[in-house]
Symmetry: C2
Subunit: 269 residues, 2 copies
């Protein structure tokens, strides 16, 4: 993480921030976050990320203290981001990397990290089937109460609910090529309403195939011919192996997904 941040739009140094101004998030995980890809100084899908953040804050009114509404607009965040990039020679106006927003304690914290090494593919060979509950609404919000996911990062884990249905991975949503459709689990699985997920569902097609929400049971993995992991930093990553099965269709599917995402990002919708 880099040293220049913004708090409610004001450019600050990370080392000057006091823990006591973020205690509700720190003690109780009572905050929400967004991770955005920034390319050449431009944050991708910013309006969508902020809409999701506002929705989570609205669903937790009286529990999580929201930032002032005027700092949660795309214009305000774009302005704060620009000022941070200008203020820090290590970032600069053409910064490419990751921006993170954390909302809680009446504050919106914007921070930056340098681009992660971009993976081309991810192998998913581990099942965690003890902790996701079908219909759990808390897992529809990207809160800083994130330990369950954090503990599984980088371990190739797929979360499976008590009905044996695939839900998501710690850092993204899943899309499966099954039959002649591209299928992603419904929010009730549960999973996060991912930004890239919403773009692909809105697009409605990948090549000739429809993109639909549908339950995918773990026994159906044998019918899956391709799989893609989506998130806001990697966009769409091929999953060449899913729970022991080699999937020859993953790379092509990931390429199609990235193209759709890029097109939406270009139009900024």
């Amino acid at each position: 993480m880099t040293g220049t941040v913004a708090v409610n739009g004001e450019v600050r140094r990370l080392e000057d921030l006091r823990l006591q101004d973020f205690l509700q998030s720190f003690f109780f995980g009572a905050g929400f976050f967004e991770t955005l890809l920034v390319e050449e100084g431009a944050p991708m899908f910013l309006a969508r990320h902020l809409a999701r953040l506002r929705e989570s804050l609205g669903a937790h009114a009286g529990c999580v203290q929201p930032p002032p509404p005027d700092v949660l607009t795309p214009e305000a965040v774009r302005e704060a981001l620009s000022r941070c990039l200008e203020a820090d020679a290590g970032l600069g106006p053409r910064f490419t990397g990751v921006a993170k927003l954390v909302a809680g304690d009446g504050r919106l914290l914007l921070s930056f990290s340098t681009p992660p090494q971009r993976a081309e593919e991810v192998i998913l060979d581990t099942v965690e089937d003890r902790c996701y509950r079908r219909g759990d609404p808390t897992l529809n919000h990207k809160s800083v109460s994130y330990l369950r996911q954090y503990a599984h990062l980088g371990r190739g884990t797929v979360f499976v609910n008590e009905a044996g249905e695939l839900c998501e991975v710690p850092n993204g949503n899943l899309f499966f090529l099954v039959g002649e459709a591209v299928v992603t689990p419904p929010l009730e699985a549960p999973c996060l309403p991912g930004i890239i997920r919403s773009v692909l569902l809105e697009a409605g097609r990948l090549g000739e195939r429809p993109v639909v929400e549908r339950t995918v049971h773990r026994t159906q993995v044998e019918d899956v011919r391709g799989c893609v992991l989506t998130n806001s930093v990697g966009l769409a990553l091929a999953v060449p192996r899913l729970l022991g099965r080699e999937l020859s269709g993953s790379h092509a599917l990931a390429g199609q997904a990235r193209a759709v995402v890029r097109e939406y990002a270009r139009r900024d919708v």
Copy 2:
């Protein structure tokens, strides 16, 4: 919360702590906490709290960065606590209130708050039956990824799993008088391995009745004649109404539970 704290045994002012020293807890909820009752300067069941904290840290090695082992001993925490109480005239060596330990980011943070208004009883009339999953191991650890519980504090909520079994409340465990036994849900419900819960199970009896772990289905509430909520600050609170049923036996049961807890605390076991 008061302004004097200790970090890894060193007395500090809360306002001097930097957010950047607690980022893993803040961003990812990757930390664990304990809430202790302090009476006349003495922390109740300190060794048990620290054993639980060490167990959670051990179960998350490589994910949550533990404090140095030497700050996690009862002697070290007692010493840090004494130094804080001496250093702060608002606390003082005879302080009675609540101490909180947070472990994560390689640090043990000790902080204090003044005694809450002590409730004598709690009414539990709300069911949240969408988010607890039977056997979920993550809910056996008191992590700062606490939003699910935090959002329900003070709302009289009982968490119920997908099998319709009662689990716990946001801030404590439950004991039920059913037949001639006092019954508490098993850890697999899931629930936290509460300190007061463990004391009552070890005691094994409340008056003439055995205390046992056993599944309690919500349909069995009609057989419940008394209910007690246990936690480390309130110790044992009567629940005179549980999901619409008036329970005449709750106050007597809570009194018995408190007496057992007090006896264990007096012997410091």
